[in-house]
């Protein structure tokens, strides 16, 4: 019980951080000191100062403003990616687990195939070949990442099928569609949500990695991976261009990882209680 309250407090604290990040991302347009797209060549590559806290880039754009706007881009990309893969994966897993047979076989063979291959290599190829833009990057990572959720949802569904209340629903003549929506889905959803929450940090880094390679967001979009790529070329003269966006990724990913872990912890305790 004591552990539960401790876990819950931690979760509340990290949730507060997460809300803070989301708020900062949403209200970025009102928070930024300068226009992140506003190029002023006379301010090119200024070192951090009180006027420009994080310095300016090659085009004289304020780095702090770009990082805040980049948070919006990164979070939007990451959250939509995680929602897409967990949603699609869960549906496929549910269908596979409930209906079995040929549908199951086809989906699981595809999932096996993805497991037997380093996904990020394929994602680089897909994003690169389709042409770098935000949509294609999300698509590329979605193609290689949904299988994890499909497998998870399938195994959870198979376990649920053995339970008495499902047998009761079947014997009382409940339609299959209703069993899936009313009984299966609410039971597997918590595990899927926890897994998705713990995946946010990883996905954010993979998206940034693709952007860093030039296969993600394109200039002048403020995006952290892309900003690091631009900063890399000026590592000698303007190290702040790579220090700040990287630190931003580190902090945001750490917070989401901590939040995901603490969410898992309270869900686990609840299950035991």
């Amino acid at each position: 019980m004591k552990k539960f309250f401790k876990d819950k407090n931690l979760f509340a604290l990290y949730s507060l951080f997460v809300l803070f990040i989301l708020g900062a991302a949403i209200f970025a347009p009102w928070l930024v000191p300068y226009d992140p797209f506003d190029a002023a060549m006379k301010d090119s590559m200024l070192a951090p100062s009180f006027e420009h806290l994080f310095g300016t880039d090659k085009l004289g754009r304020d780095c702090l403003s770009r990082i805040l706007f980049g948070m919006q881009t990164s979070l939007m990309m990451t959250l939509s990616l995680v929602v897409i893969i967990s949603g699609i994966g869960m549906m496929i897993g549910l269908i596979s687990g409930c209906y079995g047979g040929k549908v199951d076989m086809v989906f699981m063979r595809i999932a096996d195939m993805m497991l037997a291959f380093p996904g990020i290599v394929l994602a680089i190829a897909i994003a690169g070949m389709m042409g770098g833009n935000i949509f294609n990057t999300i698509l590329a990572l979605a193609v290689v990442s949904w299988t994890k959720y499909a497998r998870l949802a399938r195994s959870l569904t198979l376990k649920l099928r053995e339970r008495d209340f499902i047998a009761a629903a079947i014997t009382s003549g409940t339609r299959l569609r209703q069993i899936v929506w009313r009984h299966m889905l609410p039971n597997i959803l918590p595990t899927i949500v926890v897994t998705a929450a713990m995946d946010i940090g990883t996905m954010m880094m993979e998206l940034a990695g693709l952007s860093f390679l030039g296969f993600g967001a394109q200039p002048p979009t403020p995006e952290w991976g892309l900003m690091l790529n631009e900063g890399r070329q000026h590592i000698q003269t303007a190290p702040w261009l790579m220090i700040f966006p990287g630190t931003a990724i580190l902090i945001i990913v750490t917070i989401f990882n901590l939040w995901g872990d603490s969410l898992r912890d309270i869900m686990d305790t609840q299950k035991i209680n």
Binding site: D112, M113, I120, G131, G209, F215, I243, N257
Partner: protein, 314 residues
């Protein structure tokens, strides 16, 4: 693993290969750029439509999809992976050229990773919930949350630029140039692997035989070295095989950061140049490498775990 199982795995491997190559081949169709124009347009030269059509026919790019795919697959079966447009040489030769770079980097990263994560994981498990455990776990948490390419940039900045300990210009494979990229990859990998070592050792420490040995008065050190570690090795080898998958992908980004002449950097350039045969060849090679390594891992199990040799108890 029995012969039959190995055969089964090899067949599965072939199916995966066909699927993955098919998918990459599809990409060339969805891709917006035209490789023929990329190939012919050097600088501002204007190429006539006839030349473009001629080259297209020469490369076989005017044929329907399935014809191209079958032609490519039969080519590979004969050891011919086609011609790279951008490097103007056979794809296989180009891949062989870049393989040593990636392999040397990957092997050194794995060695450094093992040197970091195995001791740290064991210490963390043995001194569970002590200060040192919290410290190691905190570090590995931090490591997981850092993008590897950023770690690479920071190391490059500190050790290459500020301290001048290592050359910053890449381009050739040499001992002093491999240190920074290898350490970068190792840091990212050991953050994950340390946790896995810790979990595996903890699991073994909780087994009944450990309690049994303790009650018979066998010193903890002896139990650890003679019983716990050999047993914990088995799951760790599987995980090592899996993390090689991450390594093969992660290496591309790190090679770009350090301009390291390997497969990853080659692939990124090939994608930028829309050099389809080279990209397809790269994906095929990575698939082969990864699946081959994991097959070897599974086969090695038979030798490491005598219980599996007779296909008996599990």
């Amino acid at each position: 693993m029995k012969k039959k199982e190995i055969m089964h795995r090899v067949i599965q491997l072939m199916i995966t290969l066909v699927g993955v190559t098919f998918l990459t081949f599809c990409l060339t169709y969805l891709s917006p750029g035209d490789p023929v124009e990329m190939l012919l347009e050097v600088g501002d030269t204007i190429v006539s439509q006839e030349t473009i059509a001629e080259t297209r026919a020469q490369l076989g790019l005017d044929k329907p999809f399935h014809v191209q795919y079958i032609r490519w697959i039969t080519g590979i079966a004969h050891g011919d992976m086609g011609l790279s447009y951008s490097a103007k040489m056979p794809v296989a030769d180009r891949l062989w050229q870049c393989l040593p770079g990636t392999l040397s980097l990957a092997v050194s990263a794995i060695i450094i990773m093992l040197l970091i994560s195995v001791p740290c994981g064991i210490i963390s498990a043995v001194y569970r919930n002590h200060k040192i455990d919290y410290f190691i776990r905190g570090l590995s948490f931090l490591g997981i949350s850092m993008p590897s390419f950023w770690v690479g940039l920071i190391l490059l900045y500190i050790f290459g630029l500020k301290l001048g300990l290592f050359p910053i210009a890449g381009g050739v494979v040499s001992l002093d140039r491999i240190v920074l990229p290898a350490v970068t990859l190792a840091i990212a990998m050991s953050a994950k692997y340390t946790r896995q070592v810790r979990t595996a050792v903890l699991e073994e420490l909780g087994q009944d035989y450990v309690v049994g040995a303790r009650t018979r008065g066998i010193p903890m050190r002896k139990i650890l070295w003679h019983h716990v570690l050999p047993n914990a090795c088995l799951p760790l080898i599987t995980l090592l095989g899996l993390s090689i998958g991450w390594l093969l992908g992660g290496v591309a980004v790190i090679e770009m950061v350090f301009s390291w002449p390997g497969l990853g950097k080659m692939a990124v350039h090939a994608i930028e140049m829309r050099d389809y045969p080279l990209v397809q060849g790269f994906v095929l090679w990575i698939a082969l490498l990864y699946m081959g390594i994991n097959l070897l891992v599974d086969i090695s199990y038979t030798y490491l775990d005598p219980r599996l040799k007779k296909g008996g108890v599990q």
